[in-house]
Amino acid sequence: MSDHSSSYEPSNGFTRWLDERLPIMRLMHGQFIDFPTPRNLNYLWTFGAILTFCLMVQIITGIILAMHYVPHGMHAWSSVEHIMRDVNWGDLIRYTHAVGASMFFLAAYIHMFRGLYYGSYKSPREILWILGVMIILCMIMTAFMGYSLVWGQMSFWAVTVITNLFTAIPVVGESITQWIWGGYSVGDPTLNRLLSLHYLFPFIIAALVGLHIWALHVVGSNNPVGVEAKTPKDSVSFFPFYVIKDGFAVIVFALLFAWFVFYAPNYLGHSDNFNEANPLQTPPHIVPEWYFLPFYAILRAIPDKLLGVIAMVAAICVLFVIPWLDTSKVRSTSYRPLYKPFFWLFVITCLALGYLGAKAPEGYYLLASQLFTAYYFIHFLVVMPLIGMIETPKQLPDSIAEDVLEDTSEAEKA
């Protein structure tokens, strides 16, 4: 795909002059104008564009919030309220940033499930997938650090609980935790470094996104059929076809986004964070934001401190190796009758873990979290390798064009 030649032709003297020195227009033209893209992508493939939109919104609103925020234990919480009350447009900018985090994760999770369903992680897209997992890891850290900056009760105790996870590390755990805190408890030094890193990470994400897109443009997009595009008939140019389709999808997504910002801005947050951080009193229930709940459920499902932490970290890290865990030659789950129910079981597992993450880990809730945690790992470590070996997939079409044009050719024959 990357070797497709750009049809770019400089239109005037200046662009010709520029093209001989820095062929950036040629590069952009080749990658985002006439880039060949499978003609059969459905709306699930628009989430890449939606995620780029989300990242841009977060970076822009975040830079603005940092202009008004004060990273000090005495002032952090009230500086956030100052933004909400006094800064021009401050409430809308902050709500956009806060809701934006949720929207970012919503889009990222859909993007990931799309990749899982259509086998987008399989050869030759392993690096593309791994870069994606690195992005979600960075997103998790960024979102966590950003949430802590509000310095409400839930922020403060989330930082306390999560940094205390490091004490589970044998021998050096205690020292590492103090190193992270810059003290003997969560305090001003901690808050300052959280801000510094929260500001840094989005730019690391942006760099990773650059690599992710580069890797995508080397191998080309996967598609709902999972058969590689071979002939020009299989593809259309990125502009105008996918530019307009992605644009439409972004705006529909923005409608949902705007609904939350303007009419339910605090719905996805937690009321406890409207109480200023108090190091002497823990709130009755510590609950992370919704997008962390599945991981939180896994952490609490295991009654051992160290093993719980390991399971939670493993839940994300296992994603790095699934290109090699999945033994099936067929990409799209649509053509895999045996795997399909297991895929949906996995989706239900993730949703159930999300639900259970918000509940107290006792009784049936604990038992259910343990069962679903078990399936989470069984799915990757047992189901994926095994089914690939025993399954007989459905007959794949020879090409994308054949799949798409099937009806027409049959109609013509008739």
Partner: protein, 176 residues
């Protein structure tokens, strides 16, 4: 053929319409991102300050804060008033009559920021260097101001600025 053309026209029209509509929205969304840097509501609320003048004696000056800037309030002596009035306005770098700079001859109210590069001139306390003209002297680049706060010598281009103010009572002014 013509239906193909119609199709193409329709397509082009829709693309242009969607594109321009997006551009308009983007431009509107830009305004909050810029306006957030303007003074916020709490800063604007501090726009007026009331000052009680009764404790100030002849020849004394006080400095108060207004919008984060120092404001000089000086109760001038008869000599200082005379000095300020006797100047030939035409000779000044920034010609202005003393009468245009005060509301009450006794009281001189000025923004205490040198019009050159924003330093605060000295001369508020007795014993301060008040320059060759008995008003203020800016230590940064040597600007001399007279007893009406007018620039007399040095690099400053303009007289010390007079803030908007009004006498609420005989002994109380409201700045801003």
């Amino acid at each position: 053929m013509s239906s193909d053309n119609n199709d193409e026209n329709r397509r082009d029209f829709l693309m242009v319409a969607a594109g321009s509509f997006t551009a308009v929205g983007g431009a509107c969304a830009l305004w909050p991102l810029i306006d957030q840097m303007n003074p916020d509501a709490s800063a604007k609320a501090l726009a007026t300050v009331e000052v009680d003048l009764s404790p100030i004696k002849d020849g004394q000056a006080i400095t108060i804060m207004w919008r984060g800037k120092p404001v000089f309030i000086r109760k001038r002596t008869a000599d200082e008033i005379k000095e300020a009035k006797d100047v030939d306005v035409a000779d000044l770098p920034d010609p202005q009559d003393d009468g245009d700079r005060v509301k009450n001859d006794e009281w001189l109210v000025l923004i205490g920021i040198c019009t050159h590069l924003g330093c605060i001139p000295s001369g508020q306390k007795t014993g301060d260097n008040s320059g060759e003209y008995g008003g203020w002297f800016c230590p940064c680049h040597g600007s001399h101001y007279d007893t009406s706060g007018r620039i007399r010598k040095g690099p400053a281009p303009r007289n010390l600025e007079v803030p908007p103010y009004a006498f609420v009572t005989d002994t109380k002014i409201k700045i801003g």
